[in-house]
């Protein structure tokens, strides 16, 4: 059963920000596939600001290689938008894996980011695209890199009265990119482990390699050491093997050795290796 709460349905961003500014104990609902579950489990909040009718937040635009995704664009929309499939394939693949059709139709990119689950499918692809978030409040606007926005599992730098308005990423033309994950069943499952990659290479060298790993460490992360290591390296078995070991080291440096790594470590290694080989 849902606890009692009041809700408002702003139709413009200005209205939404005004509500957030004036209401105490307010939570933003952007689809509700996480918030409503938490509330049914007993989490209370006095006011709910439903931003799903705010047109400005629903837009998805491409300009000059830059993609701006409004925070209430759904996973379903992202996974089916042709231009995203072209310019940020890993993201559209990842959003296609989120939950079930019902969850993808309701759940939004903004909700996924603000919930900040270590297993969020959208985060690793956004990390490799160096996503910048646009955060607004009645007093103004600020931008923050996604990498800095998530400060702990399920915790972000978003302050009360602030609203995540949009996510900006750049296309990576000439890169081959993708997203793979391990899950306990074929659909409607939380990722046990995920890897997003975008790789630019010439005939036999890696030019630029971007990797992001989810569901492994407390927050999805980019293994920067291995990205650095691979810059300009020859693409061959010994290099790839070494790269895989560097990834494993970076993971251990972040989380130490966890019981789940009996499973996760070999999977990360195999997925990264596959991604690098292409």
């Amino acid at each position: 059963m849902l606890p009692d709460f009041a809700s408002v349905n702003p139709e413009t961003k200005r209205e939404a920000l005004a509500f957030l500014d004036s209401l105490d104990d307010a939570r933003v609902i952007a689809g509700g596939t996480d918030l409503l579950v938490d509330m049914k489990r007993g989490e209370s909040c006095g006011n709910v600001v439903d931003i799903m009718n705010v047109k400005e937040l629903k837009r998805l635009s491409v300009n000059d290689g830059k993609i701006i995704i409004g925070s209430t664009v759904t996973h379903a929309a992202i996974s089916k938008t042709v231009i995203l499939n072209d310019m940020a394939q890993s993201l559209s693949v990842a959003c296609g894996w989120v939950g079930s059709p019902q969850i993808r139709n309701m759940g939004t990119i903004g909700g996924n980011l603000v919930n900040a689950s270590p297993a969020a499918d959208s985060i690793p692809p956004l990390l490799i695209h160096d996503a910048i978030l646009s955060i607004e409040s009645k007093d103004g606007m600020r931008e923050e890199a996604l990498e800095d926005f998530i400060i702990a599992p399920y915790e972000t730098s978003l302050r009360p009265r602030e609203l995540l308005a949009s996510v900006c990423i750049k296309g990576l033309p000439g890169y081959r990119e993708g997203y793979r994950r391990a899950a306990k069943r074929a659909a409607w499952a939380i990722s046990r482990l995920s890897v997003a990659w975008a790789i630019s290479e010439d005939d036999d060298h890696f030019v630029d390699v971007r990797l992001a790993i989810g569901s492994c460490t407390p927050m999805p992360f980019r293994p920067r050491d291995v990205e650095e290591f691979l810059k300009g390296r020859e693409k061959n078995d010994p290099v790839i093997r070494e790269a895989v070991e560097i990834v494993a080291e970076e993971i251990r440096r972040i989380s130490g050795d966890r019981p789940s790594f009996v499973y996760k470590m070999p999977v990360v290694k195999d997925l990264v290796q596959k991604a690098l080989r292409g």
Partner: protein
């Protein structure tokens, strides 16, 4: 001809358009809502309960404890050892202690949080292996619930004759039935002062008897009605909400509704028994199996439920559908403080099929034989003796099911290094084990010129209503429009036994057939088959009692010997072969089931469409059993962390029906409900071995277990 018709199920249209009122949908004006206050400790003495704040909270009408039970605070379908409401001690997490009756669901659930309870923990037995030797007793008579043996031939001699020995240990997990509808119902006093309970159930007459004892009220003053039921799979055989509803109505004297939340259902419902199976097989070079020795240890939780049945059924079916000259099976079931395990589709046989089919493949591999050939060589035939030395004279279709699958097996080709194929065979005794388990049915002629079928058989989604109607139609030569089905009500029907053990088509079908023979003779005498209308016959019969014809069928079985299990525990057996193709993603350990060929000997297909539906459903459940489903006490609490297959995990299925007719069955029919599931997990595990070279000895073989096995094999 009505038998063998691809008739739509008679409840299909209504269910598709959402018309039926399920137990969960029931509401009665002025009803109270009942909630159960449950133990949070696995094993503890109850020192003090303070429900005063809860009782004083707004909207709370009554709080009931075991002291409010006028009759016996005990139930159990075989052995009565389970309390409705805990007295001075709790034995598992989730055990009911109090019932809170509120004006609304919200009030009742809120009040649960206000109840204070003081426990004194006692030693927890969480493992069947320490249960037997423990000084802590879960029940006075000791922690061993049941010990069964199956002995045939000379086991030592059998192993001496073997050229190879295959010996492995297999383990399985707790599983939840996860039926679509959680335990739900309403109770109310009727205008005759009787207590009526309407619930989601698999057996109305059993529940009527238990409520009668609970309330110390004669059975005729208790009426149990089956609401349209959203699945059972064995989980709605034990008393769930029914006892609480009856007790609540007894005290409140007004209607009461109960509906478990999904979390509560996970916590309190019985589970599939986890079994630990040590299995030793001896075989000669030519593939003939000379001996099988099996030791089974099971965990039934703190109460018997169906633990004894599972202990015996697992033992009796341990050798699979093969003729084995020398057999020694030792099966023990222990009490623990884990969740209560009970009936779940197959009563221990799916677990054993996983073991015996893995053993068959391992033996074939050691002997360099084709897995198909070793199975057909050892398969039961007419005249074979089963492990309990029962001679099979009729309807032994295992070889036929193998032959249906053979062309697909012979021409199988691996698409890539990731794919593999596996076989699974099974046999399954239809009906309860070595005990009388009859069904009644009654036919009457109604004033509007129809034949009414009165049956206590519960339609739980398996299709019994349609099948029984088809049997009746065939026996009397009547159209569906001439038949009325009156069922699911203890007032209007006699006991048909539970919808369990794959028994309703065979046993209730037999009772309907028996009644129909009498009715046919009556109708014939009255000229119906010469064109006289039923209405006319009704009107002309002065003594309306003559319009009623009762049917009865009890399968001919013999009790099994307590020391050796020698005997004929079942009148007939179902047989099946499944062949499964899987694809394994070696990087992640995920296994996709791509295609299943399934052949089932059903005796006679009353409704082929329904049979295929059962097979598809059984396969879906087998995919879950093999690859993902696992209830971990204290961790699994909802669908958030209890994974079961979705439609995306479902393979393509090609189903084949074998009809080796059973002479004692209605038109030759046997049963199928559980067989559809039983060989599936085994065939998946065998296919994984074929694809990857690794074998899972522990179920479920989920992504993590499979990946770890693959990693170990690399070294």
């Amino acid at each position: 001809m009505y038998i063998g018709n691809e008739t739509n199920r008679i409840d299909a249209l209504d269910k598709v358009v959402g018309r039926p009122i399920y137990a969960e949908d029931l509401s009665v004006p002025g009803a109270l809502f009942g909630c159960v206050f449950r133990s949070v400790r696995p094993h503890a003495l109850i020192r003090r309960i303070d429900a005063s704040a809860a009782l004083a909270s707004s909207g709370i009408v009554k709080i009931l404890s075991y002291r409010d039970i006028p009759g016996e605070n005990i139930f159990g379908i075989i052995k009565k050892d389970q309390t409705y409401l805990a007295e001075d001690r709790v034995r598992y997490v989730g055990e009911p202690i109090l019932i809170v009756l509120g004006q609304t669901e919200e009030a009742a659930r809120k009040a649960l949080r206000l109840i204070e309870i003081e426990y004194e923990d006692i030693d927890v037995i969480s493992d069947p292996f320490i249960s037997g030797g423990s000084r802590t007793l879960i029940h006075e008579k000791g922690n061993l619930l049941s010990h069964r043996k199956v002995i045939k031939g000379d086991i030592e001699k059998g192993f001496d004759e073997a050229d190879v020995i295959v010996e492995h240990t297999y383990t399985t997990a707790w599983l939840d039935h996860a039926f679509m509808e959680t335990e739900s119902g309403v109770g109310y006093p009727d205008n005759k002062g009787r207590i009526v309970v309407v619930s989601s159930t698999q057996n109305i007459h059993y529940k009527q008897k238990e409520i009668s004892k609970l309330l110390a009220i004669p059975e005729e003053n208790i009426k149990v009605i089956q609401a349209t039921t959203g699945g059972g799979f064995g989980g709605k055989l034990d008393v769930t909400v029914e006892g609480f509803l009856a007790l609540s109505v007894y005290h409140a004297k007004r209607p009461v509704i109960m509906r478990y939340t999904r979390e509560e259902s996970f916590l309190s419902n019985t589970k599939r028994h986890p079994l630990y199976i040590e299995y030793k097989t001896g075989a000669r070079k030519d593939g003939a199996i000379t001996a099988i020795k099996v030791s089974i240890i099971g965990d039934t939780g703190p109460f018997a439920s169906y633990g004894e049945t599972v202990c015996l059924r697992a033992a009796v079916h341990a050798t699979g559908p093969y003729e084995i000259p020398n057999v020694h099976v030792d099966s023990k079931m222990f009490y623990t403080n884990n969740p209560v395990s009970g009936a779940m589709r197959g009563f221990g046989v799916p677990q054993l099929a996983f073991a015996h089919e893995s053993q068959m493949d391992e033996a074939a591999s050691m002997l360099k034989l084709d897995p198909f050939d070793i199975r057909i060589k050892n398969a039961l035939k007419k005249g074979s003796l089963t492990a309990t030395s029962q001679a099979l004279h009729n309807s032994v279709g295992i070889v036929e099911t193998l032959k249906k699958i053979e062309p697909y097996w012979r021409k199988r080709t691996r698409e890539s290094g990731k794919t593999g194929f596996g076989l699974g065979c099974m046999y399954y005794g239809i009906g309860n084990t070595g005990v009388s388990n009859p069904a009644n049915a009654c036919l009457t002629i109604t004033g509007d010129g129809k034949i009414a079928l009165h049956t206590g058989a519960c339609e739980i989604g398996q299709g019994s209503d349609t099948v029984l109607a088809q049997i009746l139609q065939e026996a009397l030569g009547l159209k569906m429009d001439d038949i009325v089905l009156v069922r699911g009500d203890t007032d209007t029907s006699k006991d048909a036994g539970s919808s369990s053990a794959s028994r309703q088509t065979y046993i209730s079908g037999g009772a309907v057939f028996d009644a129909a023979k009498k009715m046919r003779q009556y109708l014939d005498e009255k000229g119906f088959y010469k064109g006289r209308s039923i209405r006319d016959i009704y009107n002309s019969e002065a003594d309306k009692k003559l319009l009623e014809h009762n049917g009865f069928f009890d399968p001919p079985t013999t009790p099994v010997d307590p020391e050796t299990s020698k005997g004929s525990p079942y009148a007939t057996y179902a047989f099946a072969t499944h062949m499964t193709e899987v694809e394994v993603e070696k990087e992640t350990g995920s296994c996709r089931v791509k295609k299943v060929y399934a052949a089932h000997d059903v005796g006679r297909a009353i409704n082929p469409k329904n049979i295929r539906g059962q097979i598809y459903g059984g396969i879906a459940m087998g995919v879950g059993f093999a690859l993902m489903e696992e209830f971990i006490p204290g961790k699994s609490g909802s669908f958030d962390n209890y994974y079961m297959p979705t439609s995306m995990d479902m393979p393509d299925v090609e189903a084949f029906i074998v009809e080796d007719q059973e002479p004692t069955g209605p038109f030759g029919a046997k049963g199928l409900g559980e067989p559809a599931l039983i060989p599936q997990a085994a065939s998946i595990v065998n296919a994984i071995k074929d694809a990857t070279g690794v074998r899972a000895f522990e179920l479920p073989c989920h992504i993590e277990r499979l990946k770890i096995l693959l990693e170990k094999a690399k070294r």
